[in-house]
Each structure stands twice: as C-alpha cells, then as structure tokens.
C-alpha cells in the first residue's frame, strides 16, 4: 500500500484535488492538517494538471511518502509500493 501525506496548504492541495475520483485511490483527511492519499499499487502525479511551479514540484513529497519513486520527470512522477523501511 502506497501512502502520500499532503500538508493542507494551498500550494500542495492540488495533489489532493487531482487525485479525487481516480480509480483505486483513497483520500482521507485532513486530519490535524494532513491529507493522506492511498493506493494499492501505484500513483501518478501530473505537474501540469496540478498547475504546480517547479520549485514546489521538486518538493512534492515533503509531507511524507510511504512508497518508492519509480519514475521522476519534470512533469510526471510515478510511485510504487516499497519494502524499504520507513
């Protein structure tokens, strides 16, 4: 299970907004200021869909990432589950 925690502030909220309604994606929160996006196998974030500036994009997982970055690009990041210790 992949989990991405998202701080409930304007610059990161598009991560939550663009994940709403996506198949197999669960969104909970905000709990004490954090949203949590979960998915069983993989999650893909689209920078352009989120209208996110590069300086924020490069820190997109600052809220916490239980997962592995399988692909990292300027406009798309794909994460998969990890067996590495948190």
């Amino acid at each position: 299970m992949i989990e991405v925690h998202v701080i409930d502030v304007p610059e990161f909220r598009p991560m939550v907004d663009t994940m709403r309604g996506q198949p197999a994606v669960t969104i909970t929160g905000p709990v004490k200021g954090y949203w949590t996006i979960s998915a069983p196998d993989e999650l893909t974030f689209d920078r352009r869909a989120m209208k996110m500036k590069p300086a924020v994009w490069y820190g997109i997982f600052t809220g916490g990432l239980n997962g592995e970055i399988a692909h990292w690009g300027r406009d798309e990041v794909r994460i998969v589950g990890t067996s590495r210790p948190l």
Binding site: H5, V9, K32, Y34, K53, A55, G63, G64, L65, N66
Partner: protein, 234 residues
C-alpha cells in the same frame, strides 16, 4: 541582570581573536537548552548583515546609486583589537524597517582567493533576502532593475515565497521576495516533523559512517512520523 552599564567587559579587554569575536568550538556537549533555564530570549528582526568588499566604489555605486538604498552610517577606524587588523571602513545602507546591509572595506588588503565568488549553489546559499509587500512591488523591482541594466533572474515561486535574484558587484547574491501567504500553525508542525525525520536519518547515516543518501529517505521517515502524529489525534 548581573552586569550593569559602565561595568561590563568591552572588546578591548579580550586577550585573543577568538575571545574578542566569541568564537566557540561548535561542540554542543553540555550546552544547556532554553527549556532548562526557562529564560525566553527575544529578537526583533534584523539589524544588519555584513560582508567584506574589495570594491569600494562599485559597492557604493550599486547599493546607493543603482538600487537607491540610502547610505545611512559610516565608520572609519584604525585597525584595533587583534594584531594585524587592517584599518577599515564599515558602512551601512538602509534596507527598510530599520534593517541595514553593511560592508567592511579593509584598507591595503587584496581579496584572498577563497573569497572569490563561485558559480555553485554552496556559494549562493549565503545570501540576503529583502522583503517587499506585494506582487506589484516585486514586479516593479524586477522591471526597474532590468531597465537600469541589471541582470535579474526569472520569478521563482517557492512554497510560501515568490522571489527574484541578482548579484552585486562583489558577486554576492541578493534576493527580493514576497510572502505568498501567512505562515499557518500546520507549517510549524510540518517543519518540526520534517526536521525530526531528517535529523533521525542523518544520525543513523553518521552512526553507520556514511552520508545521507537522498531526500527520499527523509520523505519515507516523514511518512512514519506523520502516521504517528495523526494517530495521536484520534
């Protein structure tokens, strides 16, 4: 207060450079934390930042005449304190709300090579960032400086700041920035959890005799800390 005005030590009583400048060892072993003595020390913003310059004329021209910052104070002195101290000028430009940017010009000295500017992010990490109050002010700064012939960076929107950058004749980086939003309580919580995650990962790396590998390791540890933080809420 245990010392009274007029009876305190002053810098001329110092026996060494380290003593005069308050230079410590950097070792925090045995150093008390603020929580232990209960004394809350307060600051009220920046008074000044200071750097050396070996380009006196260009520095004054840039800050006073190009940027238009008022030259508000200047000290001239024979070298004093530790042996070998150069005669010097120390001068201050007003940067708003009581803050100044200051320079030392050490007479008869040449710039040592290690003070030469470098095209490297390590060098650019040390910089001055001045605040403006609005998007209009930031745009006015960028467009006006460009018209005056200064090379200015594109706008960069960070999480809570939008900034432009340029360098002075010494090569020192300057930033002008505006707040995009107020700092919220979640920002402080998040900063605490982020730094806790990073410090934990660094401690473990150090204990294993290696360097921290990547930010992903911090993001994974952060996930664990945020999980625990959220569970506390239930």
């Amino acid at each position: 207060m245990t010392e009274k005005l007029g009876t305190r030590d002053d810098a001329s009583s110092a026996k060494s450079f380290n003593e005069a400048m308050g230079i410590g060892t950097g070792d925090l072993t045995g150093v008390k934390h603020a929580a232990e003595d209960g004394i809350r020390l307060a600051l009220h913003g920046v008074d000044h930042t200071a750097r050396p310059t070996w380009k006196l004329n260009e520095t004054v021209e840039f800050y006073r005449d190009v940027l238009g910052l008022p030259l508000v104070h200047a000290i001239t002195a024979r070298g004093w304190g530790p042996p070998g101290h150069h005669d010097f000028l120390h001068f201050f430009f007003d940067a708003g709300k009581g803050a100044t940017i200051a320079f030392f010009y050490y007479i008869g000295s040449e710039r040592p090579e290690k003070y030469a500017p470098e095209e490297h992010h390590f060098y650019f990490a040390t910089h001055t960032a001045w605040a403006v109050d609005s998007e209009e002010e930031l745009v006015t700064w960028k467009e006006t400086l460009e018209k005056r012939g200064i090379q200015v960076s594109p706008y960069t929107r960070h999480e809570i700041l939008e900034s432009i950058y340029f360098t002075d004749p010494n090569g020192y980086p300057v930033e002008i920035t505006r707040r995009l939003r107020d700092i919220e309580s979640i920002d402080e919580v998040d900063a605490r959890l982020t730094l806790q995650a990073a410090m934990d990962v660094e401690s473990e790396a150090r204990a294993a005799g290696r360097l921290m590998e990547d930010i992903d390791a911090v993001w994974r540890r952060k996930a664990k800390l945020v999980d625990a933080y959220k569970e506390d809420a239930q």
